[in-house]
């Protein structure tokens, strides 16, 4: 986009009010202008401007924090298991201030956390309490797990062995150092967040920061982080998809744990929809927030790269109930795939509207050339990959609805059941999902401090960048960073998500439900999901090459061989490495 140099937006000065940008208050003249506005919004937001739609966008987005649970029934902070205090006793007090005591004596390293502790998004702060708070306590009791412990349970973490460790903190030189978590409420305002971070730096001398609040917090505070050279891990934000993560920018202090939408969209479209299913006609329906704007841009770019384009694109307002008008317009373009980019409740409403138009997905042949209009749905990870979506949409949510997530986010494999049981014993309920990222962020900082043997900003950042083995005590797969990759995941971590309904849909050839639904008598495995369970599960044909590279043990030996996830269609193949291969004969997935 060309503009006069004087029009070029600049990052806000630290001592000046954060400037604001909104869409012009008129309808765009054409698609090009609409696209230009969207790019402008993203650009300014990324520079640190206040873009008012982003506040609502985050509130919507934050609902996807249940995604750990959605993406196959709960990613689980395993270390929470044997901790002695309940989450309620750790709730923030005094206006959102939160302090996990580390003891008055001895060395202490403070880690800051900025999250949402009040109002409609207060549940996000609770996730941080339960995750980062208890991670801190575990580390102060047991120290960092011995590297051997992380793989001693048949290649997975041995939780019992970790509970036997009694290091009393992390080791820096001869000293045993405890961690202390300082939490602050962003009050749903990036400006408040910047002030709170400044206060944590000056009053508490924090040596690391966890972002778990508004997306805008990250953009607004990144210059402050640079100024103090303070390493920060974004537990939920996706700043990579807007090109704002190092090395695309010079903010080397920023790290990200969330899988970028960009990767998921590329895999879902290129590998699945185009190459595997043979779809060529695509349409988009998305919400009026940054989720929708970003999704539409990334989908458009991905399709363009393969010579395709969106035949129709429609928008709805968050909270809209009836979308038949938009869908009727989309139907006139007769797309084979409908990309729905919004949160779970809205995605459910969209599919209920599809049902009213007799347009719900049946199978691939029908989507390609069958009678009527029955496109396959591919959805945003915070919408179609959430169990809430399937529950709310009822029978409008059809088996075969696709999305994406990352491999470490699964929590039902037998190797993690002990941890799940311990968690339930401790809290009396299952983790809601989303606790794991703040928790692992604390473990990452702890390991970085110990590896660096220092809290110096440069050394800690270098330690994070060189954490080759990573650490995972609340996800199945370890988080790692490198100098040129500040995301703790790689594209090879991405896995498909598909919707299942407790029993396999009759199809020719038939397919079997995963072990999480049916159990595996041969291996003595019980079903993880209760009878009649409706919800997302792993789709194992997606990103096979990448998963084999990155997760040979988890993907092949556990998930595939033990029959987890939807594996349609699994064919014997004595010539293959594992005695079978996955084919795309199944017409549903």
């Amino acid at each position: 986009m060309s503009r006069n140099p004087s029009d070029e937006p600049t990052p806000p000065r630290p001592d000046a009010p954060i400037p604001s940008y909104e869409f012009p208050r008129r309808k765009p003249r054409n698609r090009k202008e609409a696209a230009r506005w969207e790019r402008e919004m993203e650009h300014r937001s990324a520079l640190g401007w206040d873009t008012p739609i982003n506040r609502r966008a985050f509130l919507d987005l934050s609902k996807r924090l249940g995604l750990g649970a959605a993406a196959a029934s709960a990613a689980f902070p395993a270390f929470l298991a044997a901790c002695g205090r309940t989450a309620s006793s750790l709730s923030p007090s005094r206006g959102g201030k939160f302090d996990v005591g580390a003891g008055a004596e001895g060395d202490t390293i403070n880690i800051g956390a900025i999250s949402i502790y009040s109002g409609v998004g207060a549940f996000v702060g609770k996730l941080v309490d339960r995750g980062a708070g208890l991670a801190t306590k575990q580390l102060n009791r047991h120290g960092l797990p011995d590297p051997a412990i992380l793989k001693s349970n048949n290649g997975f973490p041995d939780f019992e062995a970790y509970q036997q460790q009694d290091l009393g903190g992390i080791k820096i030189g001869d000293r045993t150092v405890k961690l202390r978590l300082i939490s602050r409420d962003d009050n749903l305002s990036a400006q408040v967040a910047v002030s709170a971070i400044q206060e944590m730096i000056t009053s508490f001398d924090i040596k690391g920061l966890i972002f778990a609040g508004l997306y805008d917090d990250i953009y607004a505070a990144k210059r402050l982080l640079q100024q103090y050279n303070l390493p920060a891990i974004a537990a939920y934000g996706d700043i990579a998809s807007v090109g704002q993560l190092y090395p695309q920018t010079d903010y080397r202090q920023l790290f990200q744990m969330f899988p970028p939408d960009k990767w998921g969209i590329e895999l879902a479209l290129d590998e699945y929809a185009i190459a595997d299913r043979g779809y060529r006609r695509f349409a988009y329906l998305g919400d009026n927030t940054a989720i929708g704007a970003q999704g539409k841009r990334l989908i458009g770019e991905t399709l363009a790269a393969s010579g395709n384009r969106l035949l129709a694109a429609e928008q709805y307002n968050v909270g809209d109930v009836d979308m038949t008008a938009q869908l009727q317009r989309i139907r006139s373009a007769n797309p084979q795939v409908l990309m729905i980019w919004g949160i779970a409740g809205d995605t459910a409403h969209a599919l209920e509207s599809m049902k009213r138009l007799d347009g719900v997905y049946i199978d691939q042949p029908t989507a390609l050339r069958g009678p009527g209009w029955h496109p396959q749905i591919i959805g945003f990870e915070g919408g179609a990959a959430e169990r809430t979506f399937a529950v709310l949409a009822g029978d409008a949510a059809r088996v075969g609805t696709m999305s994406y997530w990352y491999m470490g986010g699964i929590g039902y494999i037998p190797e993690f059941q002990r941890a799940v049981d311990l968690f339930k014993e401790e809290y009396g309920d299952s983790p809601t999902g989303g606790e794991n990222n703040p928790a692992d962020a604390v473990f990452l900082f702890a390991k970085a401090f110990q590896d660096a043997q220092s809290t110096d900003g440069d050394k800690v950042i270098a330690a994070l960048e060189n954490m080759k083995d990573g650490i995972n005590f609340s996800s199945i797969a370890p988080h790692t960073f490198s100098a040129d990759r500040h995301i703790s995941l790689e594209k090879d971590d991405m896995v498909g998500i598909t919707l299942e309904r407790g029993r396999a849909v009759p199809t020719s050839p038939p397919y079997e439900l995963g072990t999480e639904f049916t159990g595996n008598a041969e291996l003595g495995l019980k079903a993880f999901n209760p009878p009649g369970y409706i919800g997302p599960t792993m789709f194992m044909r997606f990103n096979q090459a990448g998963l084999r590279r990155k997760h040979e043990r988890l993907y092949l030996d556990v998930m595939l061989k033990q029959g987890f996830g939807t594996q349609c269609t699994k064919r014997p193949d004595p010539s293959g490495d594992w005695g079978f291969r996955l084919t795309n004969e199944c017409k549903i997935h």
Binding site: N317, G319, V321, A325, Q328, G345, R356
Partner: protein, 297 residues
Amino acid sequence: MEFLQAIVLGLTTGGVYALIALAFSIIYMTTRVINFAQGEVLMIGAYLYFFAVSSGGNALGLPWPVALLMALLGATIVGLIVHLIAIAPLGKFDPNTNIGWILTTLSVSLIFVEVVRNLAGEQAKRVEPVVSSVGGKTTVFSIEPKQYLVLIVGVALAVVLEIVHSKTQLGRALRATAHDKATASLMGINTGFMVRYSFALAGLLAGVGGWLLGPIIFVSADMGTLVGLTAFVAAVVGGIGSTRGALVGGLTIGVVESLAKQAGAGEWTSALVFLTLILILVLKPTGILGEALIEKV
């Protein structure tokens, strides 16, 4: 065809607005205040029905008629509670000069939302529509029976209330209280009872609204906020204090919203609704069917 569909869809959406606008109007008639917690009473009614009819967990798993009765009773009580904590403590006051009621009813609405959110959680709940359980599954104009039910019940209740308030002793007492509380009191009408009656009736209507709306927009702590605001606009558009006006206002707003979406201007829905409000207030300040109060001197 699609235009007709949009009109019908708008009428079904407007049915809910009409129900809640009725509730606004009834309270306004006796007290001259707007109960800004009305949408939240609807939300609580929806939650009560959900927990009564659902099974598993803490839910009761009752048959839907019993669950509905329970929800309506609960919503009626909640309506009275709103009066008890937001209006009654203010004592005798002139709502035109003492605007404390705005803050108290708004405060109650926020309290209700936070209480429900903390008790019931963030996740929205799905509740099955009654019509599908009795066989109604066929869509007409791509609109489901559960949506038509809203329109049918909304119109029916408006008609019943209109008859009750114009033809019965209770209705006459209500109108007398609305017209002149002091004189009505001198005539032997228990005006305090009439005020409480209006809050209870408004709660009952909100309960019906929650029961009807839950299966359509899902049950959540936020569900009443936007519905309540839009229904307030509908009540003003139709003529606040008028039963017929509430119905007309509700349906009008529903149709405006639906036509906006049909025309591809979904992102302008709220703007168009409020533009309609301004236009009506400019052209007819008392609303479409509202009557100007004439004070004799």
